[in-house]
Amino acid sequence: MLLVKCFAVALAVWVALTVPVAAREIVLEFPSWQATEPGTMDFWKALIGEFERLHPGVRIDFYPVPFDVYVRTMLTRFAGGNPPDIVHLPARDLWVFAEWLEPMDEELGDLIEKWIPLQRWCIDDAGNTIAFLVLGFGFVMVYNELLLKEAGIEHVPTTWDALLEAAVRITDKDKGIWGYAIDTAGGTHTFDYLIAVVSIGLTGKNILSDDGEFREDVFRQTAEYIRALVDSGASPRGMSRLVCRELVVEGKAGFYIDGPWILAYLDMAKPELRPHLKLALVPAAKEMGVAGGVSNSLSVPKGLDSQKRALVYDFIRLLATPEWQRKYALIAGLPAPGGPGMFAPGELEELRPELAVSFEAAALAVDFIPLCVKKVFPEYRRAITEPMMDYVLRGADLDLVVERARSNVAALLKKD
């Protein structure tokens, strides 16, 4: 009996202490894969700190969910009727969640109109904007200045042929030095970046047009170039994307093409090496454009209570202010959608030269996901990369491979 009484007293004390605090405080739940990523994590924390300072009594619970299970985790939550308050999504997967996301045009119409053109990606079939773009990007090329100098290469290649030649010159297998890092192992996403970059870099066009036309000539040119690059021996075979990035950070790759988020990985290089890892536009960027697209976005779930809803929109508006767009660029090291205009002329190059390249690439970006397959991009990616891998890595006949890719895409478009 004494034990029961003690327990009751303890419980009452606990309730007395915690419930009033809970009743006063509003908590906005904000899960994100970027909660542990260097660069973006720091930015979000700074933004959250400022938001909480401006909104006393409001706390944002910012916590990590690993990227490889992120979409699945969010899907489970939405399907279970328990979405987070601030919905952070990889923009490519927006369509899976469309039925659960609130149209934002009424609240953010003015902002949306001034935002980068890639914001159009976030419009659903009914013409409503269901997400606010946090990052749109263009692919960039990392190069190792030291390796270029050792190989006697004076300038960063600006054509695709020059890139191939430079990669071959840099390669020294005995020393474990490679001219180019290509991911040739993995699942359906194997070298999809490279395919996108080369197809647009060589021709200015995607393999598939926005209205579903399969461009055989673009496919052939892309396949032949990538095969030449792989056959040149300038890249080790069987590497995943993660290993490619490690090779770059260790100073063992001359060139590598990735999104602007590669900056955060470069910052992990040894201090003596880091200044020599630089960014440049991909070859022929100004003539043909740069493959790019949407990265991630924020949304509001349908049915959120009015108080939390208002706070989430305030959070997004704060993110979109010039001050915080500038901080996004400087802290996260990414080309903020607000554009480089928030920096004074020359300021960006002085503060962080690589950022100037990222901004330029974003401005030249050509969306590498054709509109007709935006809801089925993973399947489209497989439809193209598998036949191309057969040609590039296993020497399959190009004509057969082209036909296979064409029929894969046709079947996919017919499915939907």
Binding site: R72, A79, V96, A185, T188, R237, G238, P378
Partner: protein
């Protein structure tokens, strides 16, 4: 039987009965149940929690999957607005890729299970002999089974690595493969890589069960055979293998089912690539569920996998014979 010493209750006359009636006894009396009925009732009450657990964690999810397989929705739901359809099954059986998935699955099961059995059998025969350090040897032989599947996959990725992998270097010395072979780039070597990892992981199971089976075979049979002049091979064919028949059937069934549903090793090593060369039914379902978000189709693949698994189990039970059924 319900008697509480020292406590008495009173009936309506005020007289105390000799035995106080417990609530259970009172219930029995009120319900007018026979003894056997009461025993059945209590048995049911004991089973109910476990039955509820099985229903909620096994039966109901299977029902949700089966129901989902008849809808083309991108996600699974508890209730559907759309009518039921066979489109997912039609899509599976009309897709050329599905034929390859089934072939890869069958080949993977056959090779991984068969080789794991052979290796396990050899080890069980060796570990059944008397030698110094046998206990330690038995423990070491079980180690691969203890290692988590994801770790086993990562380990084998290193072992077959083109630059630093010792397995790669060893095989290159035999001339079977050129040096510095990138296993994961070629479809054949990628398939061989996942098979090797799976065999390494599962052969200890065969070792254990066959070792137990060997020890159950009477030694007198071997002694009698020796006296009759039977050699090693004859003893193996006529005593050992028949004696292990039911154990082998069980082993094949269990390991076959494990390889049928194996996901971790393949996903970590190849993600089903290159170009679908290692895409089994499990990977196929995963890719469609969590990469393509076609969960209705993935549910259909899951149902097909379940039917294959039931068929496999039925065949194994039949082949195991009366000894297995008991």
């Amino acid at each position: 039987m319900g008697r509480k010493a020292g406590r008495r209750a009173h009936n309506s006359w005020g007289a105390a009965p000799l035995i106080e009636e417990s609530p259970v006894m009172k219930l029995r009396r009120q319900m007018g149940m026979s003894r056997s009925a009461r025993e059945r009732l209590f048995a049911l009450l004991f089973i109910l929690p476990a039955a509820f657990l099985v229903f909620s964690t096994v039966v109901y999810p299977i029902f949700v999957i089966i129901q989902g397989s008849f809808h083309t929705d991108r996600i699974l739901r508890l209730r559907y607005d759309s009518p039921m359809t066979l489109k997912n099954y039609e899509a599976f059986f009309s897709d050329i890729r599905s034929a390859r998935v089934l072939a890869v699955t069958a080949l993977y099961m056959a090779i991984a299970t068969g080789c794991a059995f052979l290796l396990g059998f050899i080890f069980s025969l060796l570990l059944n002999q008397r030698f110094r350090g046998r206990g330690i040897a038995r423990g070491l032989a079980l180690l691969p089974w203890v290692v988590p599947a994801s770790i086993a996959a990562l380990l084998w990725l290193m072992l077959i690595d083109a630059e630093i992998g010792p397995v790669n270097a060893l095989i290159a010395r035999t001339g079977l493969l050129p040096p510095r072979t990138s296993w994961l780039v070629d479809q054949t070597t990628a398939f061989a890589g996942v098979c090797l990892a799976s065999i390494w992981k599962t052969f200890p199971f065969f070792t254990i069960v066959l070792l137990a089976g060997l020890q159950a075979i009477p030694q007198e049979l071997y002694e009698a055979a020796e006296v009759d002049g039977a050699g090693w091979w004859a003893r193996l064919r006529h005593i050992t293998i028949p004696g292990l028949r039911s154990v082998i059937a069980v082993g094949f069934m269990l390991v076959g089912l494990w390889t049928l549903r194996d996901f971790t090793i393949i996903f970590v090593m190849t993600e089903g690539g290159p170009a679908g060369a290692t895409e089994t039914l499990g990977l196929h379902a995963y890719v469609h569920a969590f990469q393509f978000f076609r969960m209705g189709y993935a549910a259909a693949v899951g149902v097909i996998t379940l039917i294959v698994a039931i068929g496999l189990a039925a065949i194994s039970l039949r082949l195991g014979g009366k000894q297995f059924v008991g």
